[in-house]
């Protein structure tokens, strides 16, 4: 049952529909095992944002504070999109490569172990 309600056939208002974000979509991005950042970060982005912009502007603006960001070897980064392996196309927009509203993108850099190799 989708809800135990006194009102027959009750439906809740979907508060975070794409249309509510004034032309943007939400994308969550986390850098695995770099827990200086307590959680993944939410970015409101135009769906035609190119992946390179997401990476070099939005992500760099946050994750760039980590001492290891400058050492990231982009050829060796692996990505998960909503839990599945993902190959981003840098010059293509988000909406042309399956990065949907409220998708979760995880960046993995197994060569970089975080501060004191502790995943921080």
């Amino acid at each position: 049952m989708p809800i135990q309600a006194i009102t027959p056939d009750y439906h809740g208002e979907v508060r975070d529909r794409l249309e509510n974000f004034h032309g943007n979509q939400l994308v969550y991005v986390g850098w695995d095992r770099h827990l200086l950042f307590c959680s993944a970060v939410a970015f409101p982005l135009a769906p035609d944002t190119r992946f390179a912009q997401l990476r070099d502007e939005a992500m760099a603006g946050v994750f760039g504070l980590h001492p290891e960001w400058a050492q990231v070897d982009w050829g060796r980064v692996s990505w998960l999109l909503d839990g599945e392996p993902f190959e981003p196309m840098l010059d293509r927009p988000l909406n042309e490569q399956g990065i949907g509203h409220k998708s979760l993108l995880r960046m993995q850099t197994p060569d970089l172990k975080g501060f004191q190799s502790a995943g921080v």
Binding site: Q4, G12, R33, C38, S39, G119, V120
Partner: protein, 500 residues
């Protein structure tokens, strides 16, 4: 004829059972419209055993006496500048969380019990809820009075009620109670009276009240004592409601079990704020969160659920997860607030050397391995003049609404990610517990008012985060928020104490 003087038993019977009446020309079901939709079956309300057994006149008399003593102590506290006796100005930040996060829940409890106190067909249950409702109103009032003194001397106490309804992290306690109050009356009682008041309340009140005692805060200690006898009655109601529901009909058992599972999990998530308060915010520590969890949940809760086994009730789902989480949650929660100290209505800080060592001692399995490195990096950045504030807004759990900073318990450097797709929309959760609650009633939680999403939808003013903090949350930006180092709170304290 002179009126016969009633003995207490007669008075009590007249107050409760005699206030009920038979419905001769109205349908009883229409009078109590909320009683059946949850699927709970009540066959005989007369089997309800009243937990309070108080008459109104006894109640007023008793509470009035407590009140008199309480306010005399508040007056003395204010006249003697009691705030100067707290251990350290950092302690006041625990009170800011209490006033903005917990006191408004007392008010929500008042409203919730007033509503359920109308909705039950059994008069005994109605009276018990109404009395608890009055208690809860008294709790919120006395807490406001206890803390009003601090408001004159510290930042962050000024707009607690407004903040409760709007500030990002306060949506965690607010949504907890909103969830309970928008459920049916039986779920509300299982959620609040049983799961919270009976099973988990010691983990809220003991830490705050002993924390107050250890840190020289007489106002809060006194309030705590004054609420204690009420809490004892509330716990009795929690136990009675469970026994009553389970004895009324066997079909109630799986429904009650599902509610216990849900509310135990929601409760543990809510208590992560208390966990960080105990381990990080109290300058004089009472005990570690882990120790508190072992004493008040694992031991006390363990024997309770052994007793309930005869009704077919088992331990709450994911209780075994919490056994691992007790090693981690306080550290992960305080780290979230340290990350977002620029957006909190209280101060945050890096633990002192002595405190780091205390944490290592209390958490030998986890602290040095997983959490000390976080603080060492924070220190290094602070020493470079770059105190770390996370410039992005966090991903939130769609159920508990806490930033998704909790990790896999068997892999503590990996954030736990759970998600589901419902009607084409994607939803994210911090844990299996939160995921399961959503999946069971998605039409409820698609409505979650997630503060980060609300900011991005433009519903909280803006455009910048600072505008939201100042205008929508009504924080005094630069005074209420940021690190305790260099804060006006710290400067005033040093001036009072004559420290340079």
């Amino acid at each position: 004829m002179a009126a016969k003087k009633l003995n207490i038993k007669d008075k009590y019977r007249l107050l409760t059972r005699d206030l009920d009446w038979e419905f001769s020309y109205q349908d009883r079901k229409e009078a109590f419209p909320y009683e059946e939709f949850e699927g709970i079956k009540i066959t005989d309300w007369s089997k309800w055993e009243d937990p309070f057994r108080l008459t109104m006149d006894a109640y007023w008399k008793y509470q009035a006496e407590k009140e008199k003593k309480l306010y005399a102590i508040f007056d003395a506290f204010a006249q003697n500048n009691g705030h100067l006796n707290i251990s350290d100005p950092r302690y006041a930040n625990a009170l800011k969380i209490f006033l903005t996060g917990v006191s408004p829940l007392e008010y929500q409890a008042f409203q919730g019990f007033a509503h359920t106190g109308r909705q039950f067909g059994g008069v005994g249950a109605r009276i018990a809820c109404q009395m608890q409702s009055i208690d809860e109103l008294r709790h919120v009032q006395t807490q406001i009075h206890a803390m009003s003194h601090y408001n004159k001397f510290f930042d962050g106490f000024q707009d607690w009620s407004h903040m409760h309804d709007r500030v990002w992290y306060l949506s965690v306690p607010k949504s907890f109670f909103d969830d309970a109050r928008s459920a049916g009356p039986f779920e509300y009682l299982v959620a609040i009276s049983f799961s919270f008041e009976y099973v988990l309340t010691n983990l809220l009140f003991v830490p705050f009240m002993s924390g107050a005692a250890y840190n020289g805060d007489m106002a809060t200690v006194t309030f705590g004592f004054s609420a204690q006898s009420d809490e004892a009655r509330h716990m009795t109601l929690g136990l009675e409601v469970i026994k009553f529901l389970l004895e009324q009909h066997e079909d109630n058992v799986p429904i009650v079990q599902k509610w216990i599972d849900k509310w135990f999990w929601r409760g543990t998530r809510l208590l992560s704020i208390v966990a960080m308060m105990m381990d990080y915010m109290l300058p004089n520590k009472v005990m570690s969160w882990k120790e508190a969890w072992e004493v008040y949940f694992e031991e006390a809760g363990g024997s309770l659920f052994k007793d309930l086994a005869r009704y077919g009730i088992r331990m709450p789902k994911y209780a075994e997860t919490t056994e691992k989480e007790k090693e981690h949650v306080s550290h992960q929660a305080w780290w979230i607030f340290y990350n977002y100290g620029q957006a909190a209505g209280f101060h945050t800080w890096i633990p002192t050397d002595k405190e780091l060592d205390w944490l290592s001692e209390k958490y030998p399995e986890t602290f040095d391995k997983y959490y000390r490195p976080r603080w060492e990096l924070a220190r290094q950045m602070e020493a470079e003049g770059k105190r770390f504030y996370n410039p992005g807004l966090p991903q939130l759990c769609n159920c508990c609404q806490i930033p998704m900073g909790f990790t896999e318990m068997d892999d503590p450097t990996q954030i736990a990610y759970r998600q589901t797709v419902y009607n084409g929309e994607r939803y994210h959760f911090c844990s299996d517990g939160c995921h399961d609650i959503f999946v069971d009633e998605p039409e409820k939680y698609v409505q979650s008012w997630l503060p980060v999403h609300q900011i991005f939808q433009g519903n909280c003013g803006g455009p910048g985060v600072e505008d939201v903090l100042r205008d929508y949350y009504r924080m005094n930006v630069g005074a209420d928020n940021l690190d305790i180092k260099g804060s006006p709170d710290e400067q005033r304290w040093n001036a009072w104490k004559g420290v340079a």
